[in-house]
Each structure stands twice: as structure tokens, then as C-alpha cells.
């Protein structure tokens, strides 16, 4: 009898140990940044490609206020409502106290400087594919923006999703940095793949999710329910979107469709960022979309 109890205790202990290991935060290795020094000018291009302002500027911010990353925009989802945090360089309310490695861990691994998991509403599931040097450059750029003392509002997330440690298990199962388009035949397509799959995080809205919120890679960019519950996000895979490459690039520059209708909803903010990239980047995005099977 005693033996059985010991046996079960040992088993339980192993179970706890495994669960602990599975849900552990996994920051980047110390040499991942390999002594790269941040370049703010390059970081600005990363900032626009990654669309940071679209979610982290204050609700309805326009013009110069776009660069005050006060947070406060609300993102409803089937798991609860998330509120974007202040990522301005204020040391107390924002991320002014972060080093470049902290930002890289947040973006590529979804781990906070304190070692907590972020919710994947912050699209580290896409940023996982970005080059760590780009995070270092972005860090240098973010430091140049105006600080604000805007307080962070808590997420409105119920049990069990409010247990952040559980996200560790989710990440172990679903976070990976494999390209969906495995081979990029040209430099341009490779650049487009980087912009769409990593920095631009297009799939986060344009690809459907399963019940656990995991992107369905076999329906890549095929369109999805709007997470707000309001209508649909259109598909942009070749079988769903028949625009030619020039039309796609022009839409990302001007917000105008080939029928001269305009972008609407959150895509307006996306285009506000993408339109600041060089022409070659918009052409690369179009080339990537056309190269999808």
C-alpha cells in the first residue's frame, strides 16, 4: 500500500515537473543579438513594416499623435477583450526601461522582461520569424519617440485564459518560426515573405483560426471571421484575390482598389503604415502573394 502511495506521489511530481517545463518562458539565447548596435533610421522602417502604431497609438490618434504609443485601443476576441499597453519610452508607464534584448524577447518569444508570457493578441506568433537585429534597430527607434505617462488598463479576460502560465503550453505546441511558403524563388519574393509572414503579420487577421486560436496554415491568408464578430476579413490568397501585382501594390500605397473603392476598417491603419515603405517593399508583398500556391 505504502509503495503505491509513493508511486503515485512520484508520478504526480513528474507530472508537475513536466507541466512546469512545458509552460516555462523561453527567452532568446544570450548571443542571439550578436553584438548588433541599434540603428534608429533602419528601426523606423521596421516600425512601419511591423505596424506597431496601428495598435499601440491611442484610440483615434491622427497625424503626429500616431507616434505617441500610449496604448488604450481595445481588441475584442472570443477569449476576452485585450487592451494595448503603453510602449512609449516612459520608464515607468512605458518601456523606457527596456534594453534591446527585452524588446527582442517580447517580439520573438512573447516573453516579458519579468519572464511572463504575453497573450498572442500581440502578434509574436508572426514576429517569431523576424531577424533579432531588426528588433534591436526597432528598439533604437522607439527610444526616439515621445514618452507618455498614460496608465495601462488591464485586459478583460476571464478564467481560465487569465492564467498566463498556461500560454506556455500553447506556445510549446503552436509557436514556431517555419515559413509557410517554404521556398522563395526570387529575392523579391523572399523579401515579400519576410514582410507578410513576419513583420507585417498579415495572417493574424487574414487567416482563419481554430477553437484554440491557432492559425490554420492550410488555409493561409484565405480570409477569416473578424475577431470583433463583425463581418469577415477578406481572403488575399491567389484563389480569393484576382488583382494583379501592380493593383495590390497600388492598393497598399493609396488605399484604393482596382475599382476605386477604398480600404475600410482596420486596414486603413495598416495602409497608413505600409504606404510609408519604399515602392520596392510593396512590390515585394505583391510578388509574395502572387507566389502563394
Amino acid at each position: 500500500m505504502r509503495r503505491i502511495i509513493v508511486y503515485f506521489l512520484a508520478l504526480a511530481l513528474i507530472g508537475v515537473g513536466v507541466a512546469w517545463a512545458i509552460t516555462m518562458p523561453r527567452p532568446l539565447s544570450d548571443d542571439a543579438l550578436s553584438g548588433h548596435t541599434g540603428d534608429a533610421a533602419r528601426g523606423e522602417a521596421v516600425f512601419n513594416a511591423a505596424g506597431c502604431a496601428a495598435c499601440h497609438m491611442a484610440p483615434k490618434a491622427e497625424d503626429d499623435a500616431r507616434l505617441v504609443l500610449a496604448g488604450g485601443q481595445r481588441f475584442p476576441s472570443p477569449f476576452g477583450t485585450f487592451v494595448a499597453p503603453n510602449i512609449s519610452p516612459d520608464p515607468e508607464h512605458g518601456i523606457g526601461g527596456w534594453g534591446a534584448a527585452d524588446l527582442a524577447n517580447a517580439m520573438l518569444r512573447g516573453v516579458s522582461p519579468e519572464g511572463a508570457h504575453y497573450y498572442p493578441v500581440f502578434p509574436y506568433t508572426s514576429y517569431a520569424k523576424m531577424r533579432p537585429e531588426d528588433a534591436v534597430d526597432l528598439h533604437a527607434y522607439l527610444q526616439t519617440l515621445s514618452p507618455t505617462q498614460q496608465e495601462n488598463a488591464p485586459h478583460e479576460v476571464g478564467f481560465p485564459f487569465n492564467i498566463r502560465r498556461l500560454l506556455g503550453g500553447w506556445k510549446t505546441l503552436f509557436l514556431n518560426d517555419d515559413w509557410v511558403l517554404e521556398t522563395a524563388d526570387t529575392e523579391e519574393i523572399a523579401r515579400g515573405r519576410y514582410l507578410v509572414e513576419a513583420l507585417g503579420h498579415c495572417a493574424e487577421c487574414h487567416t482563419p483560426r481554430d477553437a484554440l486560436g491557432v492559425l490554420q496554415r492550410d488555409q493561409w491568408l484565405a480570409g477569416a471571421a473578424n475577431p470583433t464578430g463583425d463581418g469577415r476579413i477578406p481572403g488575399i490568397s491567389p484563389d480569393k484575390l484576382d488583382w494583379n501585382a501592380q493593383d495590390i501594390a497600388y492598393y497598399l500605397q493609396s488605399g484604393l482598389t482596382p475599382e476605386y473603392d477604398s480600404a475600410g476598417g482596420h486596414m486603413v491603419a495598416v495602409i497608413d503604415n505600409i504606404s510609408r515603405l519604399p515602392d520596392s517593399d510593396r512590390a515585394a508583398i505583391a510578388a509574395y502573394l502572387k507566389a502563394l500556391p
Partner: protein, 152 residues
């Protein structure tokens, strides 16, 4: 007698309801047609901006003049309260429009300004035309960002 009265009342109520929806439908159709006309004229300029059509100064000027005239049309009767996406699936206009009507008017004014900026250079300068297309696109998007439902 009572029944006839009730039936008549119902019939009147129904036809009144239908009358409202017809008037609203007409308003919805009118504003959609107006946006079609804007898109058509913008399309002439866009085709030149994209290089799909050779630049034709005269044609560009006509399209820009039209765009200004269309943007300046008084649309007040085309947006009756209740002609929104909750009432009918003929429109994607969000009810929020009528909570923020002054904001909508400001954004409409920005379209007029963008169209006038286009008109100033459309007949003389293709490069400037390209830049001002983006301004017009932005003005269109400003309303569609907050006040238009996504497609289903």
C-alpha cells in the same frame, strides 16, 4: 367591425412602413450611385497614375473637375436617420454615423479639399497627380475606417 378596423389599421401601418423603407432605399441608392460616379472619375486619374492609360491632360482635368463637383454635392437628404446596416442589408453604413454626424461632415470636407488639390494640378503635372491620388484615397478611407461595415 372591430376586425375591419384592425385590418385597416394594420394595412395602413404596413404601407406606412413600406413607404419609409422605399424612401430610405432611394436615399441609400442615391448615395451609392454618387460614390460610383466618384469612383469612375477617380478611376480615370488612377489609370493614368498607374500607367495603365497614357497621361491625357485634358481628360485628367475633366475627371478632376467632375470629382470636385461630385464631392461638393449637398448629400444631406441622402443620409436619413435609420438608413443604416442594422435596418437593412442594402447598406454597410454603420449606425455610428448618426452618433457622430459632425465628424462625418468634417471628413466629407477633407474629401472636397483633396479633390480641389487634385483639380489644381491634374491637367499639368502627372507626378503631382500621383501624390494627390494618395490624398484622395486617404480621404475616402477616413470615413470607411470607422463608418462602414466589413463585407460579409
Amino acid at each position: 367591425m372591430k376586425r375591419i378596423f384592425a385590418t385597416t389599421a394594420l394595412a395602413v401601418a404596413l404601407s406606412f412602413g413600406a413607404g419609409i423603407s422605399t424612401a430610405q432605399d432611394a436615399a441609400i441608392e442615391a448615395r451609392q450611385n454618387l460614390m460610383q460616379l466618384q469612383a469612375f472619375n477617380l478611376g480615370q486619374l488612377g489609370a493614368m497614375a498607374k500607367g495603365e492609360m497614357p497621361y491625357d491632360a485634358e481628360q485628367a482635368q475633366v475627371a478632376a473637375d467632375n470629382l470636385v463637383a461630385l464631392a461638393r454635392l449637398d448629400q444631406s437628404a441622402m443620409w436619413p436617420e435609420g438608413s443604416d446596416s442594422f435596418a437593412t442589408d442594402k447598406t454597410r453604413a454603420k449606425p455610428a454615423i448618426w452618433d457622430n454626424f459632425s465628424d462625418l461632415m468634417e471628413k466629407d470636407q477633407a474629401l472636397v479639399e483633396a479633390a480641389v488639390a487634385m483639380q489644381e494640378i491634374a491637367g499639368t503635372d502627372l507626378d503631382a497627380l500621383r501624390g494627390r491620388m494618395e490624398q484622395v484615397g486617404k480621404a475616402c478611407g477616413a470615413c470607411h475606417e470607422d463608418y462602414r461595415e466589413p463585407k460579409n
